[in-house]
Symmetry: C2
């Protein structure tokens, strides 16, 4: 079973990496970009379905609750 | 218009970051994990739809063609 976990900075948190990429992208594309936010993407494969395990993994290992939100998608 | 761009290491490329996280996760969860691959996640907002621009951004700014694949999703 394959899961996808997306971890991204909370809406209220400043995202300096996104800001930096936005600046470079605008210069490169010669075009205005409204916003870029950067997060992490994980593909996790386990033998059989175990949503609870994946939730625990996302919450405690892959993300930092204080500054990040996560989302679990099944593939 | 909001786009999501996923950049991940090509299947044939070793993913040492994924391997390291897999090891930690298995120890933490006391459970076998088949595989973890790590990629990057970008949310890009632009004023109006421009698939070509986003494709150029993903290809030339956000990813490295030699070792990474990218995927563009519309939201």
């Amino acid at each position: 079973m394959k899961y996808v976990i997306i971890v991204k900075p909370k809406k209220t948190i400043l995202d300096p990496q996104g800001k930096a990429i936005k600046k470079v992208a605008e210069r490169y594309l010669q075009n205005k970009i409204k916003n870029i936010r950067v997060g992490k993407y994980f593909e996790v494969e386990i033998d059989k379905r175990n949503d609870e395990l994946i939730d625990k993994l996302a919450k405690n290992v892959l993300s930092n609750e204080v500054i990040e939100d996560f989302e679990v998608l099944k593939e």
